[in-house]
Subunit: 335 residues, 2 copies
């Protein structure tokens, strides 16, 4: 066994630091008022003595664990790591910690529910399209605050925060048509995900409203290799599109690589526009024009909703759609 | 307040599922023996009744929280998301959960220690070069099992798992020299990180041992933009290297982009080799030859060490160095 020393109490720390016991308690309570100098002395004494304030025992009194479960299935999609990082920092500002829950692949999301509830997180963020709305409803029924991030649930009363995906699709259509392109293409993400459905609807509806020919569609599943093969097929066809909307950045990188492999120049022979603005969009090989999802504002809004639900300030459900922003680089021929 | 129903007990669940109370308990204990059919009935009854087995209360009895803290500072480096995902899945197999602790930027790692200890994780994985060895020693002193991941600590008795970085540097030198290159370059990662120090030492020592000219060195800080500027300066110089080792993939992408911007062809005018094998190494724009870090084996070894330390099977410290593997794509002129 790892040796564990006799338990050091907050009284021991207070004595060593020359402060009151209540000052020790406040020094370890996120958000509590304590002078920086006092906190420093308490932390120094606590570290020296090996004091570990017991968040677990405290949670039994407050019935709060201060843990927020974040369910993720697509950490390798470069959109998500900055999201997770922002959640961690933002929740920390509110004295919360992130319990990370990853789901294997495309299935079995709902099977994880009993285990997730076992950990008694105070609330849950669901980022994965693989978790059914039924699961979100179930959590809400059990009194567990839940917010969907980067997705919505149709016919559900669960709160959600996402980018205004339909407006993004619509903007893309206007941009291409205004630049004189008539032969458009759409490289779709995972077919049944709300992000893809909304972007696709916004794009196709706007093109139809402007009486331009219906865009050709290929399925890229939000994945580089799938998108590479799909866009190569699309671009090698006799009547290929001259402007392509990709439902995320990663698929746009694949489309650009596929276009170049076929001898097409971007944007001269093919405009490529995406949605995300991940870090790689700035890499010189791509220099991607893309509609930025407002990650920071989306995370902040999610945290606000979660805390509002936890604290009972908020009742019912809220769906917030935040506007994307066109970031102009060099992969689109501009109007 | 969020409404919480009257507490459902395991007895209620046992009655509803028609099984013994002990079967309910086993169904919710990771690793415990229970027939899949029984488990299914228990879970169905538990979900229906809104039963949440109390992991927190249980931890007060066992003195284990089953939480493993993972400290990360560089989630946006594409090396780390798959690492985190693997940790989450692997630890889950052992009934553990990941408490994610992110550190802001390059500093203040040690300041987070008291708060980290407050959460009473059973053990800690430190992945960040920003946490001092002193902190790792301090955790060990407090009886908290700690393993360093992808880094080592000099003059420390803390356990660590990493790639054999020195061997990777040495392999790179042999590869370039065997291909006839004599003017070599090294694009360094964060100067004081153990990964960079070891890769650099392996590379320079081997070049010296083979009596080739000392490689030129530029500082890329493991960052695309820094590496882009540094490699452009290096490659625009009169006596530029013809073969470049980059201490990670992201810097190699920057170096390739910088080389192309200067009209150099990769690998004909410049061989570019890296260490990592991140997902983007396969992207057609780069098709990067790189030394793969054995991420899965590294994570598995770290989990083994952690559990060994937690359970007292392991005493003292262990440093495991796992061999990298050369993945040949098209960015290096091969011997």
């Amino acid at each position: 066994m790892t040796t564990r020393r006799p338990r050091v109490t907050s009284t021991d720390v207070a004595r060593a630091a020359g402060v009151s016991q209540s000052a020790v308690s406040r020094a370890f309570t996120p958000g509590a008022s304590v002078a920086p100098k006092t906190r420093k002395r308490v932390v120094a004494a606590a570290t020296k003595l090996g004091y570990r304030p017991n968040a677990i025992a405290r949670s039994l009194i407050t019935r709060r664990t201060k843990l927020v479960g974040i369910v993720m299935a697509h950490l390798t999609n470069p959109f998500y790591p900055p999201v997770l990082e922002r959640f961690s920092r933002k929740l920390e500002e509110h004295g919360r910690r992130v319990l990370l829950i990853t789901l294997p692949g495309q299935s079995h999301g709902d099977a994880a529910l009993p285990e997730i509830l076992q950990y008694q997180v105070d609330s849950l963020v669901l980022t994965s399209a693989t978790l059914s709305s039924a699961m979100a409803e179930e959590c809400a029924r059990l009194g567990m605050p839940v917010v969907l991030f980067n997705r919505t649930a149709s016919r559900s009363r669960v709160s959600a925060v996402c980018c205004d995906n339909e407006a993004a699709g619509s903007l893309a259509a206007d941009l291409f048509l205004d630049a004189g392109d008539r032969h458009l293409g759409y490289l779709a993400g995972t077919a049944n995900s709300s992000t893809n459905l909304e972007r696709e609807r916004g794009f196709f509806d706007r093109v139809a409203a402007r009486k331009a020919p219906k865009p050709k569609r290929a399925a890229g599943d939000y994945d580089y290799e799938t998108a590479f093969a799909a866009s190569r097929a699309l671009l090698a066809a006799k009547s290929r599109p001259t402007a392509l909307l990709c439902a995320n950045d990663v698929m746009a990188f694949a489309a650009i690589d596929a276009a170049r492999g076929l001898g097409l120049r971007v944007p001269r022979d093919l405009s490529v526009l995406a949605v995300d603005d991940s870090a790689m969009a700035r890499w010189r090989a791509y220099d991607l024009t893309t509609i930025r999802q407002p990650v920071e504002a989306m995370v902040d809004a999610t945290v606000d909703l979660l805390l509002g639900l936890e604290e009972g300030r908020l009742t019912g459900s809220v769906v917030r759609r935040l506007p994307g922003e066109l970031i102009v680089r060099s992969s689109v021929r501009m109007p």
